[in-house]
Symmetry: C2
Subunit: 577 residues, 2 copies
């Protein structure tokens, strides 16, 4: 095999495929280069003047390495790996590094293995980092708790590149044995360790980095990014559906900083992918923010591969995997053709037919049946006054802020044992129902700022433990919406007048659909419209808001299965005060 490649490289026999007369984006010299690209056996074998059995005329086109998403939670696309592949491949993405943190919180190791199996044989290299913090906080009721011992065996897999974002940065710098054990295992296997240190600065940043964490994707301003970069971290510039940091960090795309910069999406929703694209969109945006096109592309190809030690990925050069994007326009990053492992897989938006990965039925059964909770009754949503209720004069209410994930804590006076529904507040009931282990735990609370005027809305996408969340104007509709999701084994549901008025199954762990991106997107749009018709305010994404209201790491007040959490104090607080 190698003999044939050598012969072809030396021009003594025809290459399998030659990209003729294109302009190569050379990530080593950071310049454009006119040359043919010769390909054999899925590998780039030569740059120069070549002839091939097949040739693609690239005159006037640009030849770039396949794009890499350096950090994504694939579950957030709500698509199976195969449907995700269909959605991003035409945008030039040929490699992603995913952290299966969401499904691991629901299904544990089975969830991780399901994602690995569901990623096999696709024309997209899906690499994995092992979720380091399942559950995200010690007091959350997730489906599984993953220990260092659980993870260790997975480092032997070729597709596992390291330990995923160490969100528990406090644990890491305070010497938590379990998290340090996880870090030590990754190091021992010579794998990377991704960071997650929002606002971690100065000596705490030193401690965190010293522990072996060499990247960060949580920088929101350039000073923070430059501090971390100067301390040796690779900076992952994140531009996703929820969190958008690229504009604030545009200075990083200038030399010499660009050498340590990686473009990532973190979370990218299906409508967002369809409307704006994937890594092509981020590269386009970097260019629009002043990056040299060669440098912008380098931060989504070679840099990413270098950080993850993918030695043969991310460049148009001999010996590299033939993952190639042909662009008809450089600054607009217009993807015309995509070549994966030497095969033309996208031609003018038309994607090659994919073979559905063959997933062991035992694994599939597990992820398709992830609900372990009883049927709900309206009475389950009653907020029963405790015996000291008579002493209470007010209650805590979670206030949503238009356009933000942050919440505020309001303290609202009681009227007849309930929060006074003051004219300026539309106070709704919120429930977080444990759905993994039949504990029957239901966290109950109040919210304002959501806007619902009738019915109830429920979702099983609720970071990071993905319990069942319901928000509603009355207990009957809340029970109906929750039970609908339970029956579907996951998804979104909207009830009104005791009936389900709209629903979307997300049967894979309660997180992902089996639909393709287009159909799913249409359904999502329809669900949102239904939610709006019931009063949900503009500026509030009805489902994303629910997805984050239970995540006890974003200030200020959150609700989990066991009650309210004051995020800043990191402790439970009572509903009534």
């Amino acid at each position: 095999l190698i003999e044939i490649e050598l012969q072809a490289a030396r021009g003594l026999q025809e290459a399998e495929l030659v990209l003729k007369n294109g302009t190569i984006i050379n990530v080593f010299t950071e310049t454009l280069q006119q040359a043919d690209v010769a390909i054999c056996n899925g590998k780039i074998i030569g740059i120069g003047s070549y002839h091939g059995k097949n040739e693609i005329d690239c005159t006037g086109k640009f030849v770039a390495p396949g794009f890499i998403d350096g950090h994504i939670h694939l579950e957030s696309s709500m698509l199976t790996p195969m449907e995700f592949t269909k959605a991003v491949l035409s945008h030039g993405t040929t490699t992603v590094i995913t952290d299966p943190h969401e499904i691991a919180n629901v299904c544990g190791l089975d969830g991780i293995e399901y994602m690995m199996e569901a990623s096999k044989g696709l024309p997209l290299d899906i690499f994995f980092l092992l979720p380091s913090c399942v559950p995200a906080t010690s007091y959350e009721e997730s489906g599984f708790r993953l220990t260092a011992k659980d993870l260790a065996a997975y480092y032997f897999k070729d597709t596992v590149l390291g330990l995923a974002e160490v969100m528990d940065y406090n644990g890491a710098i305070h010497g938590d044995r379990e998290i340090l054990h996880k870090i030590a295992d990754a190091k021992e296997h010579n794998k990377v360790i991704d960071g997650h240190g929002p606002e971690l600065r100065g000596k705490d940043a030193c401690a965190y980095i010293m522990a072996g964490i060499r990247s960060d994707h949580e920088c929101t301003d350039i000073e923070e990014a430059l501090e971390k970069l100067s301390l040796g971290q690779w900076i992952m510039v994140r531009e996703g559906t929820a969190a958008k940091n690229l504009t604030a960090l545009k200075g990083l795309f200038q030399p010499p900083y660009h050498q340590r910069v990686i473009l990532v999406t973190d979370d990218k929703h299906p409508q967002d992918i369809l409307e704006h694209g994937h890594m092509d969109d981020l590269i386009r945006m970097a260019i629009a923010n002043g990056a040299d096109p060669c440098i912008a592309i380098k931060t989504a190809t070679f840099n990413t591969a270098s950080y993850f030690r993918l030695e043969n990925t991310g460049a148009i050069a001999p010996g590299y995997n033939a993952d190639v994007v042909i662009l008809s326009d450089l600054r607009e990053v217009k993807v015309e053709k995509v070549i994966k492992d030497g095969k033309l897989v996208v031609n003018q938006q038309v994607i090659t037919k994919l073979t559905k990965p063959d997933i062991p039925s035992l694994l599939e059964d597990k992820v398709y049946h992830s609900f372990h909770c009883k049927e709900l009754q309206p009475d389950d949503f009653k907020i029963t006054p405790k015996k000291d209720i008579n002493k209470a004069t007010a209650c805590r209410v979670i206030q949503f802020i238009s356009g933000e994930l942050l919440t505020k804590e309001l303290q609202v006076p009681l009227k007849n044992g309930k929060p006074d529904n003051l004219p300026e507040l539309d106070i709704l009931k919120l429930a977080v129902i444990e759905r993994h282990h039949h504990t029957n735990h239901i966290g109950l609370g109040f919210v304002t700022g959501y806007g619902l005027t009738m019915g109830a809305i429920a979702s099983s996408v609720a970071h990071d433990s993905h319990n069942l969340i319901v928000i509603g104007t009355n207990d009957e509709d809340m029970a109906a919406a929750a039970n609908c999701i339970r029956e579907m084994q996951g998804g979104w549901a909207i009830a009104n007048h005791g009936k389900i008025v709209d629903k979307l199954p997300l049967t894979i762990a309660g997180l992902m659909s089996t639909l393709d991106a287009e159909t799913l997107s249409e359904n999502i749009a329809k669900m949102k419209q239904t939610a709006r018709s019931l009063g949900v305010e503009e500026g509030i994404d009805p489902f994303m808001t629910l997805a984050f209201v239970s995540l006890p790491v974003i200030p200020e007040l959150r609700l989990i299965t066991t009650g309210l959490i004051d995020v800043r104090k990191q402790c439970h607080v009572s509903l009534f005060i």
Copy 2:
């Protein structure tokens, strides 16, 4: 342990050592940075404002990562690893990557193991690449032939970073199975493969690089270097005792090329180290050639470590090994102090006391007894006319060129069955005696341009097979000089009037001395003086000339144990024509 480091990093307890108020060379931002450097357990734990149990005031000083030599044959220093360490440590070198190609040609795997054992416990990280081409050419009579199978087991050693320069680039691109096997093994173990492709360009370069060879240290001009760099190779800019390429390649120290540049010495003789230094000298020279000091240092620290995948080496940042050079002058690269693994090992040229590595006596015996040839008689050097000699009208003579390693082939008419000693030629006899396997092979020939007017000079340093070389005016002195070296088990010897007039033992494989650098240097100078007193011309290094006259890869005419080699044709040629 890590708990203490974390506490110290967070400033909650004192660090072991703090470098106070220095100016850090930050290889990530390529800028100077004012900050303290905190060190614990041999590791840099924090950058900022710190206090330590020990503190070194670095006000007005520069704090750089320890220097790395990315490619050296340590044997060419003629020093043991311990004496080499003493010589280079004070010049700021804390890591070298050596290719034990020379000793492997003499002693095989025992030679490699000896070097590994002799490198243990020193305050210098000595990493190894496995010699890929022993012997250098198929027709050479070296001590050993190393197969892929021989090498494979060594990849499991932590100190082995890859496969050393694939000198047999012809074999590699023509699909030689053995060399491809060696390359495949290195790849399988995820190790680097160093290149050696002088003047390899275009499609042949593509084939060579495609095979997996990602560096080159043989570039002599900037066009060649930029071509290889653009094809994905790291360019090792070599500046050693014999080969000097830095000035020609100075353009590489400018962005963006500097990202893929590594400074190396390849071969550096002891006098050269004593007089000019080691990596400090190369960095100084790069700066003098227009490199930004931060970039010059980066090419001898972080870049080298990145290429060799030494994840914790080459930067002043948390989590990196505390290998630090404190400079009193940046542009002059004046080394004041050196810290290795957190310990002060050099202070104002004074080096910490080293512990001699404990080498297994069996290994030591082997490398100290590497001569396996009979005692020589003057008659052995007789050039006996063959039966067709009467037809011969001329003979081939190797012509040395002042200041070059290149030789020319002269064809000189015969007079009385010998080359006519024309007035403009001083023709001497040259012998290359097989000394590894008692084959009694002696290659005999004639040279001119050396200048010797009486006596004979012999050496056991003769690239790459390191047979015994003698050059002389008469057979008696040639035998005396050769026998002296045989008795010493290696070295240099000068005979005159049948007696040894000067000698230098190089008892370790016939290549290395047991002396320290200063004493060895003095002895070398004395030997050279003696050689000059016998007539060796200015412009001819008496021993380096001998060291290369037997290397059948540098044009034009060479002598090996089996006779003359026409290097361009790569075949034997007859002495008489």
